[in-house]
Subunit: 238 residues, 2 copies
Amino acid sequence: MRVDVISNVDDIRSEDFIQKSAAVIDVLRATSTMITALAQGACGLLPVETVPQAQSKRSEHTFVGGERYYKKIPGFQAGNSPHDYMTDEIAGKLVVLTTSNGTRGLLKSQRAAKLLAASFMNGTAVASALASFERDVILLCAGCRNEFSLEDGLCAGMIIDAMESMLDQPLRLNDLGFAMKLAYRQCRGNLYKTVMEGASAKQLVKLGYAHDVEYCTGIDTVPVVPIAKQDFILVPLY
Amino acid sequence: MRVDVISNVDDIRSEDFIQKSAAVIDVLRATSTMITALAQGACGLLPVETVPQAQSKRSEHTFVGGERYYKKIPGFQAGNSPHDYMTDEIAGKLVVLTTSNGTRGLLKSQRAAKLLAASFMNGTAVASALASFERDVILLCAGCRNEFSLEDGLCAGMIIDAMESMLDQPLRLNDLGFAMKLAYRQCRGNLYKTVMEGASAKQLVKLGYAHDVEYCTGIDTVPVVPIAKQDFILVPLY
């Protein structure tokens, strides 16, 4: 099985996903938020690209959230903090979410045969799902403004590390994948402190979201795996 | 001091180098070859972009080498294997070199205030030079066909690791720089075997150049630092 880690959304074409499994990784915070929302009882997640698209979905059956530049969009029910979704209000609702990078990553990956949302919080469960699909894998780091993000790369390394523990055959990795496996193994015991060295975490701390960074670096704390259905709504895999 | 690691030549603009120090890293094999040629007594190195440019420089004072797709260019005196430059023939001559990625990296970095060529073979010497320049640093991984190369990233990690040992102040790293520092620290005791997992090394082994990979992963074996002068000829720093 081949696993390619892609550094950011602009480094890959939509066609490259055809026939493959993919997991989009936006640790801080889109995919961590999606996992939280499904664990909290949302019936599904609809990622949309623009603010007007999200607004147009507003109804009694939806819960509309999103951010631009780390901040909640005015008039939305929630921002992009997982803590905004720890509310009974979302039980049974469709969460509509628009974020700067994570949503773009999911839209870019739409042609994958299987499409998951991954974070440290569900990393081993994602690895297990990817291993079971028996297809080549793309791990797409959402990154930030077309640049590589430390926490997304380390999460890719974690998923590779977990997949290698599960499978008998060795994985074929691209160069970035191999580097991320090494980097993750070097810092696995010290993940929160390491992620805090990255630009996204520093920005979140500055904006008062240090608790989000701590929550989003918990390993295997919420083993729910969001998977995209045909209509591009993400639901729990199991 | 800020140190940014750039994943490949296309991920940065020429203007970004202004006022900064830069080191171009093409471990397999352009920068390792340049270091070898200067250590062997070449008076300087002229990187050029095209095959005709290189051919036009041929004279009794030059030694013309280069590769495309890992292979020696027909009619050239040498390819891109460092072993091609371990000859007394180059003593006192200007080595004219054209390679797929390393040369492009140097040309892209021309506007840097100080421009070096780096590899594992001169990593600590490069770190020491960059520290002494007291400017922000760009470590440009040449990569391969617009993609990140494992060995170049690990070499960037090695230079950062060495700079941090030298300097009292902590470095400010971009996210990729931090990840590469971690990855290097994880594999430093096992560098040759690790680099062999990368696509470039595998390709070189297939073409019969395993000895080049071994030579190019020697740490601090040839502490000569090529630095670009005004006329874009690289000469030994000391």
